[in-house]
Symmetry: C2
DNA sequence: CAAGATTGAGCAATCAATCTTA
DNA sequence: TAAGATTGATTGCTCAATCTTG
């Protein structure tokens, strides 16, 4: 991989390695923290956040899969498991007979209420504390730009 | 999750969502690209990179698991699969009878040679193109800082 | 025939238990 | 007894096929 093709500069490599390490370690840490506090996994938490962010705690499944960036199939399997644990329930859709809703249950509401404070604290401590406005600005532009390029790359099949 | 506990500022939220989306989409894109070019997965590629980065293309398994940040068990399973496909081989360790080496095979060397140029091109196009030195500097300090905090969090069990 | 959603098979990752040698 | 590594069971993710309704 070395000198045959143009690789990256020293600093680019340092950042790339750091990014890869962080991409693996950060979700793992958040996951552990959630499991201990509430028995939820990080994907569980992500689903529940989407539900609590909506006024009536109900979301169409397709909308949910878009919001999470998950495949429909993955979401369906995951909802089945969460439903089995009583965290969410499915409901039929009156407007469109093909569609379905996911709704938050009382037990799901409990679980995320228990989980959220520790999660937020961890995210702040690890990621945001001592992050200057200028840095945050750079970071946000960076992720926005990369996401745009990834999206552009998927369209011209 | 809203006003019960102190969540994040608007800009922090924007970055955090962007970061989460990028963390899911970027590995997926790199994975697709590798699969098409060479039949390798991203984890396959990561393993092979570690082997090509060493002079004699041999690495101790524990060292490899540290370098990759993988659990030993995951690595062991993964090596078994890669060995089955002829990409790597295992060798006994003379110095320490408990230990083992992984070595690159000819076919593994071929595979990463086919895969690397396209991978590098994708990483540059998506991540590094039009990234200023100043931005790179911020990013690298950011990942370094976060990784340090994550490491510190694991020690005081 | 498209779109929303589910299913089942196959593959990958995690966790605890095990085996061997230092 | 601990370190290096593997194994088996469980769980989760992906891919292709399917079912139902618009």
């Amino acid at each position: 991989v070395s000198n045959e093709s143009p690789w990256l500069s020293e600093q680019q490599q340092a950042f790339w390695r750091g990014w890869l390490a962080m991409s693996a370690a950060l979700p793992a840490a958040l996951n552990r923290q959630l499991q201990q506090d509430s028995g939820l996994s990080l994907p569980d938490f992500d689903v529940l956040v989407q539900l609590t962010d909506t006024p009536d705690e109900r979301v169409r499944i397709l909308a949910l899969s878009d919001a999470l960036g998950w495949e429909r199939s993955r979401l369906s399997h995951h909802l089945t498991r969460m439903e089995g644990r009583g965290l969410v329930a499915r409901e039929e859709c009156a407007d469109d007979g093909r569609g379905a809703f996911v709704v938050l249950t009382a037990s799901g509401r409990d679980a995320i209420a228990r989980a959220a404070p520790g999660h937020v604290r961890t995210v702040r401590e690890v990621v945001f504390d001592s992050l200057t406005d200028e840095e945050l600005d750079h970071l946000e532009r960076f992720t926005t730009r990369v996401n745009a390029r990834l999206a552009a790359r998927d369209l011209p099949a």
